[in-house]
């Protein structure tokens, strides 16, 4: 079903993000990745039935190392806590995933919650993306400390985010609550301004 009724909360920032992005080898771009399927999973990682159930649906074993994620195809599972994970998938995949997870995990002490609207995603990408992040986040953004496969729940300036190191371009993906999204876009565009002029 085509969903014609949905609106990104930062739809009116789209042009500003295009204007604020800097093309070229030394550039940095900011784009929204809206409407992704997001499912919060609670459960016991020591329970083999739980782990097997999630794996059956997603093809992925829930990660138990703090601040990591695993990916297969469209699906990514983020570690959020010792008993909490976030499954992210393609747009509109949530209903099917939830149904299958509930079936696979039936009878276990779990919670499978549709949180697709609870956060939207922003991709900050390009050669200067790391510098923009360094202006915005108090964690070590260098590849020695934060590499593909890692994700942290932190703040980008004053916005709480789930921050994913998506690829080596580098691309930082920020899952942010919609209410903070405009602030976060404004902050990042401001931080990108310097590179806009220098390229």
């Amino acid at each position: 079903m085509v969903d014609n009724f949905r609106n990104s909360i930062i739809a009116d920032k789209a042009q500003a993000m295009i204007n604020g992005s800097v093309s070229g080898e030394n550039g940095v771009t900011l784009t929204e990745v809206p409407f992704l399927a997001q499912v919060n999973i609670r459960g016991n990682a020591d329970d083999k039935k739980f782990v097997a159930g999630v794996k059956k649906v997603t093809g992925l074993k829930v990660p138990t190392d703090p601040n990591t994620y695993v990916t297969k195809g469209d699906l990514t599972v983020f570690w959020l806590g010792p008993n909490e994970w976030q499954l992210v998938g393609a747009v509109d995949a949530q209903a099917d995933l939830i149904a299958k997870l509930r079936e696979a995990l039936d009878g276990l002490h779990v919670a499978i919650i549709d949180v697709s609207g609870n956060r939207t995603a922003l991709d900050l990408s390009g050669a200067q993306a790391r510098n923009v992040m360094k202006k915005s986040c108090r964690l070590d953004m260098d590849p020695q400390s934060f590499s593909v496969g890692q994700a942290v729940q932190t703040r980008v300036e004053k916005a709480p985010v789930l921050l994913q190191m998506l690829n080596d371009q580098p691309t930082y993906r920020m899952f942010v609550r919609p209410s903070f999204a405009e602030y976060l876009v404004d902050w990042l565009l401001d931080a990108m301004g310097e590179y806009h002029h220098s390229s």
Binding site: D3, F5, R6, N7, S8, I9, D12, P34, F35, N40, R42, N83, E84, H109, V110, A111, I113, D114, V115, S116, G117, N118, R119, N131, K134, K135, C137, R138, L139, D140, M141, D142, Q144, S145, E157, K158, A159, R177, P178, S179, F180, E182, Y183, L184, D186, W187, D190, A191, G193, E194, H196, H197, S198
Partner: protein, 1006 residues
């Protein structure tokens, strides 16, 4: 003007590139590479300021950030900046600066009359003079002193520049880029570790740029060039010039203030932030911060033309600017002889070096002698001549213990005095890191002793003043620091060979005597130049009982000026120790605190100060609609909620009147998305709610909702909200907007610490849902149109029930709950459908004249019904019983959080402050929220306060003002008249039930 003092030398300036600038209204020329100070010196300008208290003429004393005298105001207008050190300001075309603390001009300063009256400005002057009568302190003395003690002036305009912050992590951070710092950075950088090298100067090289040292048989500056080139080629090394490391905190957290564009001139690089604060977190730190030369404390040692010896050397060698024509060098150590030699080579006449030591036979003094410089030993400068510029000195032999002049005076004409009292390692950052210092008797200075963080100190900062030691220690520390972070093997690369001339020991000599005992007669021995603290002041402070160095500092204000005592600290405490006849280590030193040099507030604030970047504005999905439709907004935490929607010509009162009428007679729509929402599931979910809420939850049927109170352990109301049973083991909880995060933490804390046996998961879903509240008698009609497949009849969708369905074409969950008292539905749709649903409601509701309403109308409507708002009617000291809500506390269900506290004497007593309604005698009078209440109109003092107004509104539906209040024993006083007080105004009010409207609840079904 021509640069009469510019030589053909000067290794770091480009004489072919002239730069025009203005100082105190006069035009001058400098050259590229100059600082403002070096350009002034090249033009023969030494008189650059007036001292803080006595307004004595002062000249350029140093060549760095320790400068106490050459404090200037740079530029005018919004970019004007006060209290900069001319020794650090890089010259740019068109620069305009003026002296501070002088009026009308530096040459003729009216307040210099203070210098004549200088005798009264003794230690503790402020304390002694302005204490009585104490009533005058705030009104007369303090403002007057502030005017007199003016440094520069802050611009009143908004700062047009921007500033930002950067967070950086590294393995090895090296502070200072002299020989030790460069060596350390090279050694660490070669291991591949992330290395940062920062320096407050515009060029790397430290003192090697000021002197004529030799490394590997070549000028040291060639080695600097090679080293910097190698570092620049390393991807793993970040080099920061013009970057002052100003704070060293726990966990090797170091803050750096980088001046990015100042050297281009004001506004020249609008695309860049002007300055940047770097937050470095480094696994290992190497401090190579060098040392400061100490001035000697001698009679009238503040005449313009008096300069630190090494500063004179720097101006000549680095900038090609001679400090004067004829100078006398005054020293207690060998280092000043290299100054004398370099200055003679630069073309200055240095007839004499006056040395306090009796035996002077080092290599450097002997070289000086060979150049024809007279070395006078066992002697001191006992007087200086001149006022706005040194004209000469009087020298004489002095006793070895500093007590008296022993010989006859001899006069030497000169325009410059170059003094060296030895060197103090710049231990500021080391001390900030809580490193412990040790006093080195031989080197006559404090040196780092015990590190308290992962830090190494090298070179002059460690008291290793010779070049070879600096190079060796730097390389060793850099390699070892890198190894400690897992890079390299820790073996220092071989250092280059420095040409080292051995120096003979320094002689500690703290106050040079003059013809009168210190403090008597007219001559002044300055210790702290900027604050006009003299040796006599410190001696007086000691006599008056200020025996602690911290007391002495505050009593005399030594080290409390903008230079933070970089020059005066050691001299001051040495004088104190000699007065107390205690060894210097026993007296100790004062605490070093950040910042090392002043930092702009703008830089500290960064970008997070302007408009939307200052703090997140949290917006609901319908925010854009509210904005476009003229809503005013109210901050609720970080949220901006629509407050009311004024139509053209309406004020708040008119808008709220219109909105409330719609809710009682038609249909209104509210954006309630900000309410906290928590998904609760697990086989023990109902049991958990039973423990958390005061009322009973086990038997709530699926499909139904219930209102609940949460208490803290003390029995006081903490949060409230409606929770719905979605399934046997699944609930949807709502919380207050402001309480959402705190409630989730609270639930998690209890689950993790008190009841880990319960199988329950709680997850925040606040922003998963957009929430629209549609209320009023016509709400059902609208809902039926919005969701034709759903049954909204009272029978099938009763009050306090919820139903899933499709509303306006999207999946929705509809709750029949009411915060207005009228028929009301709360529709939850996924966040991204919120705007669509809102617009659809407005479209279909147009025929019913659907009215968007904001938080103000919501507050009025709920107050008419006597519904409390947690946080407005409550402040953490109200029980449910206090609020008249005894019914919500289950008597038989067993334990819940807070229950035990109900038997506490104070919680159980009958006359607690209780929630009541208040009606004013005059229906039009609206009480002030927060107004205090008394039982009687006239009261004794202090008046017995019996409560306060918590909410107060004009109620259009009742055509009467209404108020809620907490009143002592209020429940037993229904119908009684009491008095509300608002800043002198007394209003008679009647205690009534807080339910003003529809007390039987007949309107909720529509």
């Amino acid at each position: 003007m021509t640069e009469q003092f510019r030589t053909t030398q000067g290794s770091r300036v480009d004489r072919s590139k002239a730069i025009n600038f203005t100082f105190n209204g006069k035009n001058y020329k400098g050259v590229e590479g100059d600082t403002l100070a070096s350009a002034l010196i090249a033009n023969g300008v030494h008189l650059v300021g007036r001292s803080f208290k006595t307004h004595r003429p002062r000249g350029i004393l140093t060549c760095g950030s320790e400068e106490p005298n050459a404090i200037i105001q740079l530029e005018t207008g919004p970019r004007s900046e006060p209290n900069l050190r001319a020794t650090q300001v890089e010259l740019y075309e068109g620069l305009s600066a003026k002296s501070v603390n002088c009026w009308p001009s530096v040459n003729f300063d009216i307040a210099a009359v203070n210098a004549i009256a200088g005798r009264i400005f003794v230690a503790g002057f402020y304390y002694k003079t302005f204490m009585k009568p104490s009533s005058l302190w705030m009104t007369v003395w303090e403002p007057a002193i502030r005017r007199m003690a003016g440094l520069g002036v802050l611009p009143r305009e908004k700062d047009p520049d921007t500033y930002d912050h950067m967070n950086e992590f590294c393995e090895v951070m090296v502070v200072g880029s002299g020989p030790a710092g460069l060596s350390a950075a090279l050694a660490a950088g070669r291991t591949g570790a992330r290395v940062v090298l920062c320096d407050e100067h515009p060029e790397f090289g430290g003192t090697l740029l000021n002197t004529k040292e030799i490394i590997d048989g070549k000028p040291a500056q060639e080695w600097v060039k090679t080293a910097v080139a190698e570092l620049e080629a390393m991807d793993n090394v970040r080099l920061l010039k013009r970057a002052n490391a100003f704070g060293y905190y726990d966990h090797n957290y170091i803050t750096v203030h980088e001046r990015r564009t100042d050297h281009f001139g004001p506004g020249a690089k609008p695309e860049l932030t002007r300055q940047r604060i770097w937050h470095f977190r480094s696994k290992q730190v190497v401090l190579a911060t060098g040392s400061h030369e100490r001035p000697l404390v001698f009679a009238d040692n503040d005449r313009p033309g008096t300069m630190l010896a090494a500063a004179g050397q720097t101006y000549a060698n680095r900038y090609g600017a001679l400090p004067g024509r004829r100078g006398v060098v005054f020293t207690n150590n060998d280092s000043a002889y290299s100054v004398a030699i370099d200055l003679v080579d630069a073309g200055m006449d240095i007839p004499t070096v006056v040395d306090l030591r009796e035996v002077v036979d080092g290599d450097l003094p002997n070289t000086a002698r060979k150049k024809g410089i007279e070395v006078i030993t066992g002697s001191g400068i006992v007087a200086t001549l001149g006022r706005k510029r040194v004209k000469g000195v009087e020298i004489a032999t002095v006793s070895s213990d500093g007590s008296q002049v022993t010989g006859t005076k001899r006069k030497i004409d000169c325009d410059t005095i170059l003094s060296s009292g030895g060197w103090s390692p710049a231990v500021h950052l080391f001390s900030q890191s809580i490193g412990k210092l040790r006093y080195d008797e031989e080197k006559v200075c404090f040196v780092p002793n015990v590190s308290s963080q992962n830090e190494r100190t090298v070179g002059a900062c460690k008291g290793s003043f010779d070049l070879q030691s600096a190079l060796d220690e730097g390389a060793a520390a850099g390699a070892a620091a890198a190894k400690d972070t897992g890079f390299g093997k820790g073996k220092a690369p071989a250092s280059p060979k420095a040409l080292v001339v051995e120096e003979k020991p320094i002689k500690a000599y703290w106050v040079v005597p003059t013809d009168h005992p210190v403090g008597q007669g007219k001559r002044k021995h300055f210790v702290d130049f900027q604050h006009d603290v003299t040796a006599a002041d410190i001696m007086l402070a000691a006599r008056e009982g200020m025996h602690s160095v911290e007391h002495m500092k505050r009593y005399t204000t030594t080290g409390m000026a903008t230079d933070q005592g970089k020059l005066s600290n050691v001299n001051g405490l040495a004088i104190l120790s000699s007065q107390l006849e205690k060894a210097i280590p026993k007296v100790g030193t004062t605490t070093f605190r950040p910042p090392y040099t002043p930092v702009n507030f703008g830089a500290l604030a960064g970008r997070g100060i302007n408009g939307d970047l200052a703090d997140p504005v949290r917006r609901t999905p319908m925010y854009s609609w509210h904005l476009e439709n003229g809503a005013t907004f109210e901050p609720v935490g970080q949220w901006q909620r629509a407050w009311y929607y004024p139509k053209a010509g309406e004020d708040m009162h008119a808008a709220v009147t219109r909105e409330t009428a719609a809710l009682r007679d038609g249909v209104g729509i509210l954006d309630a998305s900000t309410l906290g929402k928590i998904d609760i599931q697990g086989k023990d979910a109902a049991k958990f709610l039973n423990l958390i809420y005061t009322n009973a939850w086990l038997k709530l049927p699926v499909g139904m909702c219930r209102y609940g109170f949460m208490l803290k352990e003390d029995g006081m109301v903490f949060d409230d909200g409606v929770t719905s049973r979605l399934g046997e083991n699944h609930f949807h909880m709502t919380t207050t907007t402001g309480g959402a995060a705190g409630v989730l933490d609270w639930l998690e804390e209890y689950l993790q610490t008190e009841w880990p046996d319960l199988e329950v998961y709680c997850t925040s879903v606040t922003e998963e849902w957009s929430t629209l509240s549609i209320g009023g008698p016509k709400a059902r009609q609208l809902l039926e149109e919005l969701a034709p497949d759903m049954d909204f009849s009272n029978e099938n969708f009763p009050f306090m029930a919820w139903r899933d369905g499709v509303v306006a074409g999207v999946d929705a969950r509809v709750f029949r709950i009411s915060f207005t008292g009228d028929l009301s539905y709360e529709i939850n749709v996924r966040n991204w459908h919120g705007l669509h649903l809102w617009k659809k409601c407005m479209e279909l509701g147009e025929k019913y004249d659907i009215t968007p309403y904001g938080t103000e109308t919501m507050h009025v409507l709920r107050a008419e019904k006597g519904f409390v708002i947690v946080g407005q009617e409550t402040d953490g000291t109200q029980t449910p019983q206090d609020l008249g809500m005894d019914w919500i506390v289950a008597k038989k269900k067993g334990d819940f959080v807070g229950r035990r506290s109900f038997i506490r004497e104070d919680t159980a007593r009958a006359d607690r402050k209780q929630l009541v309604g208040l009606m004013t005698d005059n229906p039009k009078e609206v009480l002030t929220e927060g107004a205090q209440l008394t039982y009687e109109r006239v009261n004794p003092t202090p008046a017995p306060m019996v409560g306060h107004v918590t909410s107060s509104y004009w109620s259009p539906n009742l055509d009467h003002s209404i108020a809620m209040a907490l009143v002592k024993d209020g429940h037993n006083r229904m119908g009684q008249w009491i008095y509300a007080h608002d800043r002198g105004k007394v209003t008679k009010v009647k205690i009534v039930s807080p339910v003003f409207y529809d007390p039987k609840g007949e309107r909720r079904d529509g």
